[in-house]
C-alpha cells in the first residue's frame, strides 16, 4: 500500500467523488503525544519539521496548519486570542494572575455594545502565518498544507458568553451580527494571504455548530450569521481551485441542506454518537464528501480488534465510489490509545485499496 502523499491524485480525487489508489486518511488534529509515539521521538507545537515528517510518514496527503484566532484542540492554551485577552485583562488589572480571567472557557468579554467597540480587534487581526510558511518549505512531493481557519460561530459566542449570546441572538440580532462580522472579516481577510500560497490545497473551518441533539441555534440564525460567511469563503477557495472543508461536532443533519448550499466540499467528523454515516452517505453522498466517524470513545476504550472491525465497516459501507476519508469521530486526542489509532490507520492502509473488496 502506497503511503506517499498524493494530495491531487488521491485526496482531491476522492473528495471529488471518484475512486483513487486508496481511501485517504484525514484528521484535523492529532495530538503531539500520538505523533511522538509514531515517530519515536518528541514532536512539539513548534517543531513543524517533525510534524511534516509525521503526517507524511503516517500516510496523510496533507498537514493541517492552524492560521486563526482560535486553535482547534488547544482552544484556550495555544490560541492567539488567549494572548490578546490576557494582555487586555492585565492592562486593565495589572495584578491579575489567574489564567481563568482570560480563558474563554471560564469568562467572556463582549456583553454590550461598548465592550464590542473597546475590544482590541486590530491586535486580534494580526494572524500568525509563521508555521504555515515553515511547512511550505518542508513539504515532500505530492503533499499540501491544509489551513485550519474559521471558528466564526464558536469564537463569537465564546467572546459573548453563551447565555448572553443566545439572548442577544433573539433580542439584539444587529449587535450579534456586528460581532459575527468582525470575527468573520478577520478570518476572511487572512484568506487571500493563505490562497496566495500554492502549497495550500484546502481551507478547513473548524466550528462546532451542533449539540448531540441538534443545532445550537436555529437554521435561520445560522443562515443569517454564519453560513453567509462560509459561502463567501467557499466561493473564494473554489475560484482559486482549493477545497473547502468543514468540521462540526454534534448532529448537523438538519443543517445539511445549508451546509451543502454553502459550498462545503468535505464534512468532518460525522459524529458517531449522534449521526449515522451510512445513511448520510446514501442521502447526501452525491453532493458532499464525508470524513471520520471512528468513535473517539472507541479509540479511548475499545480493543484493537473493535477498532479494526469498525474501520472495515466504514471502508465497506461508505468508501466505495469515493467521497469518504477515514478518520476519528472528532480528532485524535492524547487520551486515545496509540494502538487503537494505529489500528484505524493500518486497517485503512491494508483494506482501503480501490476497488474495495472486503
Amino acid at each position: 500500500m502506497d503511503i506517499k502523499p498524493d494530495f491531487e491524485g488521491r485526496f482531491r480525487r476522492v473528495v471529488n467523488h471518484q475512486e483513487a489508489d486508496r481511501v485517504p486518511l484525514c484528521e484535523v488534529l492529532i495530538d503531539y503525544s500520538i505523533q511522538s509515539q509514531f515517530l519515536g521521538r518528541e514532536v512539539s507545537a513548534d517543531d513543524v519539521e517533525a510534524q511534516v515528517e509525521f503526517w507524511a510518514g503516517a500516510g496523510y496527503d496533507f498537514i493541517p496548519i492552524p492560521v486563526s484566532m482560535m486553535t482547534p484542540g488547544g482552544v484556550t492554551d495555544e490560541s492567539k486570542i488567549t494572548r490578546i485577552l490576557r494582555e487586555k485583562v492585565q492592562r486593565e488589572r495589572p495584578d491579575e494572575k489567574d489564567p481563568k480571567a482570560w480563558n474563554l472557557e471560564f469568562t467572556s468579554f463582549i456583553h454590550e455594545r461598548e465592550d464590542f467597540e473597546e475590544f482590541p480587534w486590530d491586535a486580534a487581526a494580526e494572524l500568525d502565518f509563521s508555521n504555515l510558511n515553515r511547512a511550505g518549505g518542508l513539504l515532500p512531493d505530492g503533499m499540501k498544507a491544509i489551513v485550519v481557519s474559521g471558528k466564526i460561530f464558536t469564537l463569537t459566542w465564546m467572546l459573548m458568553g453563551f447565555q448572553n449570546f443566545s439572548i442577544k441572538v433573539i433580542m439584539d440580532p444587529q449587535f450579534v451580527a456586528d460581532v459575527f462580522r468582525k470575527v468573520a472579516e478577520i478570518q476572511f481577510s487572512a484568506l487571500e494571504t493563505i490562497l496566495a500560497r500554492d502549497y495550500v490545497g484546502a481551507v478547513w473551518v473548524v466550528d462546532d455548530l451542533a449539540f448531540g441533539t441538534g443545532p445550537m441555534i436555529s437554521p435561520e440564525a445560522f443562515r443569517e450569521h454564519v453560513f453567509s460567511w462560509y459561502a463567501k469563503m467557499a466561493d473564494r477557495c473554489h475560484e482559486e481551485n482549493r477545497l473547502f472543508i468543514m468540521h462540526s461536532d454534534g448532529d448537523v443533519t438538519s443543517l445539511m441542506p445549508d451546509i451543502i448550499e454553502t459550498g462545503i466540499d468535505l464534512l468532518q467528523p460525522i459524529d458517531p454518537t449522534c449521526m449515522d454515516i451510512v445513511k448520510m452517505k446514501k442521502e447526501y453522498g452525491d453532493r458532499i464528501s464525508l470524513v471520520g466517524n471512528v468513535s473517539n470513545e472507541l479509540l479511548r476504550s475499545g480493543t484493537v480488534e473493535e477498532v479494526k472491525e469498525y474501520t472495515r465497516h466504514l471502508l465497506r459501507e461508505v468508501a466505495p465510489g469515493g467521497g469518504y476519508c477515514v478518520g476519528s469521530g472528532n480528532s485524535v486526542p492524547d487520551w486515545a490509545k496509540f494502538e487503537n489509532y494505529m489500528a484505524m490507520r493500518d486497517t485503512t492502509l491494508k483494506h482501503g485499496s480501490y476497488p474495495i473488496t472486503i
Binding site: 472557557e105 471560564f106 453563551f162 447565555q163 449570546f165 443566545s166 439572548i167 441572538v169 433573539i170 433580542m171 449539540f211 448531540g212 441533539t213 441538534g214 443545532p215 445550537m216 441555534i217 436555529s218 440564525a221 454534534g250 438538519s254 454518537t273 473517539n296 470513545e297 479511548r300 487520551w335
Partner: protein, 215 residues
C-alpha cells in the same frame, strides 16, 4: 383555562418580554389566584417551550428568552403568594463533574428546572466528589444533577455515585445525570436514578423523581 391565563402562557411561549409583566398584573387585578397564574400560566408555558425544544421547533436562544420572560412574570406574582404556596417543587443542586469545565448544558437544564418551579443551586464546574458531598450535606437537596460533556469525565460520574452510596443521605437523594456522551444505559450501569437527554426531559425526570421521593 381562562383567556387571561392563555394569553400569559402565549406570551411566555412567544417570548414577549415587554408584555409579560403587564399581562400578569392584569391577571392579578382581575382576581386570578397568584398560584394559578404560576402553575397554569407561567409553568405551563415552559412545558410547551420544553416540548418545542425537544421537537427541534425552537433552539437554545428561543428557550432561554422564554425562560427570562417567565422569570419576569414570576417576579411580579411571587410577592403575593401565601407562605405555603411558595414551597418549591423540590430542590435541585447541579454541577459538572471533576475534569470537565463545560457548563452550557447544565445551565440550560438549571434554567428550565427553575422555570418549572424547582429551587435550584448551581455548584459550577470541575467539582470534586469531596466538594459535592460537602455541599449536599450543607444544603440537603432532593435531587443532584451531574453533567459531563467529555467522554473522559464520564467515569467521574460513576465515582461520585459510588462515593454517595457510602453516605447516609443517599437514600433520601435522587441522582440524575446528563450530557452529550451520557446515555440511559450508562446512567443505569453506574447506579444513577435517571437520565435526561435534554433540558425538557430533565424537567420531566426531576418531577418523576420528586414524586418517587414523596411516595
Amino acid at each position: 383555562m381562562s383567556d387571561t391565563l392563555q394569553v400569559i402562557k402565549d406570551a411566555v411561549v412567544n417570548r414577549q418580554r415587554n408584555e409579560i409583566e403587564g399581562l400578569v398584573e392584569a391577571a392579578i387585578e382581575g382576581g386570578i389566584d397568584p398560584k394559578t397564574i404560576i402553575d397554569d400560566g407561567l409553568i405551563a408555558a415552559m412545558d410547551v417551550v420544553g416540548q418545542q425544544f425537544s421537537d427541534s421547533d425552537i433552539f437554545v436562544p428561543e428557550m432561554l428568552v422564554s425562560a427570562l420572560t417567565m422569570k419576569l412574570g414570576l417576579e411580579k406574582v411571587k410577592p403575593l403568594l401565601k407562605r405555603e404556596a411558595t414551597e418549591p417543587k423540590g430542590m435541585v443542586i447541579m454541577g459538572t463533574v471533576k475534569g470537565d469545565i463545560h457548563d452550557i448544558g447544565k445551565n440550560i437544564v438549571l434554567m428550565m428546572l427553575e422555570g418549572a418551579g424547582f429551587e435550584v443551586v448551581d455548584l459550577g464546574v470541575d467539582l470534586t466528589v469531596e466538594k459535592l458531598v460537602e455541599r449536599i450535606e450543607a444544603i440537603g437537596p432532593d435531587l443532584l444533577g451531574l453533567s459531563a460533556l467529555l467522554t473522559t469525565s464520564m467515569p467521574e460520574m460513576e465515582r461520585v455515585i459510588q462515593e454517595l452510596g457510602t453516605k447516609s443521605f443517599r437514600n433520601k437523594l435522587k441522582v440524575m445525570v446528563g450530557g452529550a456522551p451520557v446515555s440511559a444505559s450508562f446512567a443505569e450501569k453506574i447506579g444513577a436514578d435517571g437520565y435526561g437527554a435534554d433540558a425538557a426531559e430533565a424537567v420531566k425526570l426531576a418531577r418523576r423523581l420528586i414524586d418517587e421521593i414523596k411516595d
